[in-house]
């Protein structure tokens, strides 16, 4: 990569489309390289030194002033040379993506943005995942539904700069005025019909000193691919089986490795006897790790069999003796006293509980590592590449710069791959046995020693009279969430720790969309030494879902319709429009048979809004959501198909966490071991009809990856309540 080469800087100013955030302007410049290579860096640093953080107010501030996405926008901006776009002589437009691809579709979205802005054919654009780069720091992290938000302006600036230089190079070659030339299909075109591919121009474009045409990104009216539904660019490789995940990569001689893990969470090895295991066929080595005992063999079959033959004496774990009931008691006690309600005034009081939930991505924890005496190479799906790189270095006595860490596509994340334990374990084993290894967690490992959404407890009180909500209070307590990696680290770097990183996150992510009088919302964290992590939508998945349930109960308490009540109290007109869309398309209020019902909910976060209306059938053995209608206003839509995919997936997360899937803690260990008892939704739990409508669509893109979960969860719970005449309080309902 020419990224770190000495730079022949020829600044020109790219300006973002519209919007008040004039600081989001990027200087682009040509990197000294034989072919055209354009990088972006922060204009804010140069124009207003020392004020680069100015768009973030001091903590704590309400969510509507700054959220994690804004932090990532700034963190991204802070990183010099963050984005590099290269045009190769064989006419490929290569943009190295400083994010993880775990199914959310960021590679497809960014390929669309690059292709549109530079006027390339989509299939001429390559979007490899960038290796870990310490100079990027947390700006290379993926999380907070912030990737498109934080990359939208800089990616377009870089591509626009490249296009201007390619046009200039063609103008020089043909001796024509640059303004008469046009660009399409990865080529520059002259008025007489001549064309030159970008690949044929790239060397000349690298020498262009001053572009002869504007380097401004396109205006929205010129978008050609942005806003057009496009299947994933890797769809074919996925359905033909050629898409490679970490363990599919052919690293020569990498030896299959699995780990014997303790019976309880974070149990420690006291002693072990591997003599029998070492005599088994194919077994190469047995290595003690802080997390257990690793067995390395020639095949995974041999490693798994030998794993059972290792005799380990285990010390105690970190939460031995602790079960769900103990945690429930502490969470209940941690709720501060509620503000006394005025006498004789109607109110809704409710207490909610949400169980632990494993992230359970389909691809188990996996990594390949080849550690040598003075260098290491690691292949892993991680959302925190630089954190993983440092952690690997620390584990094997190397500096981060001695570790090459390749970011590999991940088989799902949902928050899990913010952490990278498998990479560190693989590196430790490779370091110990001096051979490359491919290390895999079993599904049991993932379920019992992987991370979880922390168990939470919620006390809500809404006081209402005369058709108004007079006051609204929501006190949440939760097992402490480990946010110390990736985007959590970005928050810490930005100064948000108050009093814990979790409460700081809560403060900037939680915002009630309704005019409910004085609003009090707070989080208290209770500390347990457990492997937790943010789970898609972080606190909102529980907190906002609980609030949407309460909104329904307020409406019924007032004798009013649930949709009409939301319309009445919603602060924002655009939120009302999203709600109206699902109410209309979903035929809200239509007559439904007994034990079936509709339910609705809404959520606004990440500069986006989502509403969900579901129909549920509770006549059978278990409830089934039969139909879903969702509406999203995410601002500018980059790829409508990808946006809808995120909505559909989030709907299934809502159905799963409300009705089906959770993890029990029994005496310091998680009970569930696989998808047989961790009951994530299957085909028979999915609605037969699911329609996603996109409304709005102007301005800049908002976030969408986590957006729909609170709306989906709230709608499912509300439909269940209306169908059964109950007040659901503990989730999942069928646990």
């Amino acid at each position: 990569m020419p990224t770190h080469a000495s730079q022949d800087v020829v600044p020109s100013e790219g300006t973002a489309i519209g919007g008040p955030l004039t600081r989001r302007r990027f200087l682009t410049y040509v990197v000294a390289a034989p072919v055209l290579t354009v990088a972006a860096s922060s204009a804010a640093d140069l124009i207003a030194p020392g004020k680069a953080y100015a768009v973030i107010p001091s903590p704590p501030q309400p969510e509507n002033l700054a959220d994690l996405g804004d932090v990532m926008v700034v963190a991204t901006k802070q990183a010099q040379d963050l984005l590099v776009l290269e045009v190769t002589t064989d006419n490929r437009v290569v943009f190295r993506v400083p994010r993880a691809e775990v199914g959310q579709g960021i590679t497809t979205a960014l390929a669309i943005v690059v292709a549109d802005e530079i006027d390339a054919r989509l299939n001429d654009v390559d979007v490899p995942l960038e290796d870990a780069r310490q100079d990027l720091g947390t700006a290379q992290s993926t999380g907070g539904s912030s990737s498109v938000r934080s990359l939208w302006d800089p990616v377009r600036s870089v591509a626009a700069e490249a296009r201007a230089r390619l046009v200039t190079a063609a103008a020089d070659r043909w001796d024509l005025p640059a303004r008469t030339l046009t660009t399409r299909d990865t080529a520059v075109w002259a008025p007489d019909g001549r064309s030159a591919t970008y690949g044929s121009l790239t060397e000349a474009a690298a020498d262009v000193r001053i572009p002869a045409v504007s380097t401004d990104p396109k205006s929205a009216s010129e978008f050609r691919l942005i806003g057009t539904a496009t299947p994933r660019i890797d769809a074919r490789s996925i359905v033909t089986g050629s898409a490679k995940y970490a363990l599919d990569i052919d690293v020569p001689d990498a030896l299959p490795t699995v780990v014997v893990r303790p019976p309880t969470i974070k149990g420690k090895v006291k002693s072990y006897d591997a003599s029998a295991a070492l005599k088994m066929p194919g077994v190469v080595a047995v290595t003690e790790l802080p997390s257990g005992v690793a067995v390395t063999a020639k095949t995974f079959d041999q490693a798994l069999k030998a794993k059972s033959a290792v005799q380990v004496t285990w010390g105690s774990g970190s939460v031995d003796g602790v079960s769900d009931a103990d945690i429930r008691a502490r969470l209940t006690a941690a709720i501060p006293p509620m503000t006394p309600a005025p006498p004789l005034t109607p109110r809704v009081d409710a207490t909610f509980e949400f169980a632990f939930v494993n992230h359970a991505p389909m691809e188990v924890g996996s990594a390949v590592a080849d550690v040598r005496s003075d260098s290491a190479e690691v292949w892993v799906a991680t959302k925190s590449p630089t954190g993983a790189q440092s952690a690997v270095g620390d584990a094997v006595g190397l500096s981060a710069d001695q570790v090459t860490l390749h970011v590999i596509r991940g088989g799902g994340s949902f928050g899990r791959r913010i952490y990278h334990e498998p990479a560190v374990e693989a590196a430790r084993v490779s370091h110990a046995i001096k051979q490359p290894v491919k290390l895999m967690w079993t599904r049991n490992d993932d379920m019992r020693h992987g991370r979880v959404r922390p168990r939470s407890h919620h006390q809500l009180r809404a006081v209402y009279a005369g058709g108004d909500v007079l006051s609204y209070e929501h006190r949440m307590s939760s097992v402490e969430m480990d946010l110390g990696s990736g985007t959590g680290q970005a928050l810490i770097d930005a100064g948000y720790v108050n009093p814990t990183i979790g409460t700081a996150f809560f403060n900037i992510s939680q915002s009630c969309p309704y005019n409910f009088g004085p609003i009090i919302e707070s989080l208290t964290e209770v500390s347990y030494d457990m492997p937790t992590a943010s789970w898609r939508s972080v606190y909102s998945g529980q907190a906002r879902a609980a609030e949407e349930i309460i909104v329904d109960e307020i409406a019924r308490g007032m004798g009013a319709d649930e949709v009409a009540t939301r319309r009445k109290f919603l602060k924002a007109a655009d939120a009302r429009a999203v709600l109206d869309k699902v109410a209309t398309e979903g035929r809200w209020g239509r007559a439904m048979p007994s034990k079936t019902a509709q339910g609705v909910a809404l959520h606004a976060e990440y500069r986006s809004i989502a509403a969900c209306l579901v129909e549920i059938n509770c006549t059978g053995d278990k409830p089934r959501v039969t139909k879903a209608v969702m509406a999203l206003d995410v601002g500018r839509q980059v790829n409508p198909s990808g946006l809808r995919a995120q909505a559909i997936g989030s709907l299934m997360d809502g159905i799963s966490t409300v009705l089906l899937a959770g993890n029990h803690l029994d005496d310091g260990a998680f009970r569930e071991g696989s998808y047989s008892d961790f009951k994530y939704a299957r085909q028979a739990d999915a609605p037969l009809e699911c329609d996603v409508y996109l409304v709005g669509g102007t301005g800049k893109p908002g976030g969408v990856g986590e957006l729909c979960i609170p709306a989906a969860a709230g709608a499912v719970a509300n439909a269940y309540a209306r169908a059964t005449g109950t007040k659901p309080r503990k989730f999942p309902i069928n646990f």
Partner: protein, 151 residues
């Protein structure tokens, strides 16, 4: 170590493997066929679904000995080289995949379903037990119906 002969994606193979070695690891570790994925190892998640003599099976629950003389088809062999099976095409058209990890198994399951039931009902599709943690089920249903009409 015993030797087992069978067919994988149209080619005759002969592997030396322990009698109880799961076919999943035979495919992945001995034959380098990585389309079938490990997701649970106990036949629950079905990410490893392949065809044996045309029927959908979870290769993590079979052994090399179980398929002697039989024809194993993995996702790599579902369509002729360079081509796409109608189910694969439907998967692309409906933009089904997200992370993609379960999709080789989902596609193989759907292809087997359509072979036995060319016009599957919603109830038939509901019988599919393959886990998709990204929650692509609604698009899987649409893609199966699309493939059914195209066949």
């Amino acid at each position: 170590v015993p030797k087992y002969a069978f067919k994988v994606n149209g080619k005759n193979v002969s592997v030396e493997a322990p009698a109880d070695m799961p076919l999943l690891w035979v495919l992945r570790d001995l034959l380098g066929v990585t389309g079938p994925k490990y997701g649970c190892g106990v036949g629950v998640c079905r990410a490893c679904t392949c065809h044996v003599n045309g029927s959908a099976v979870q290769v993590c629950t079979l052994t090399a000995a179980d398929v002697v003389g039989k024809t194993v088809t993995t996702i790599e062999g579902l369509a002729p080289t360079g081509g796409l099976h109608p189910v694969q095409q439907a998967w692309i058209d409906e933009d089904v995949a997200q992370c993609g990890f379960c999709q080789p198994g989902q596609v193989m399951q759907a292809a087997a379903l359509l072979k036995s039931k060319p016009s599957p009902s919603d109830a038939d599709i509901d019988q599919i037990m393959n886990v998709c943690r990204c929650g692509t089920y609604c698009r899987i249903r649409k893609a199966i119906k699309r493939a059914a009409t195209k066949k």
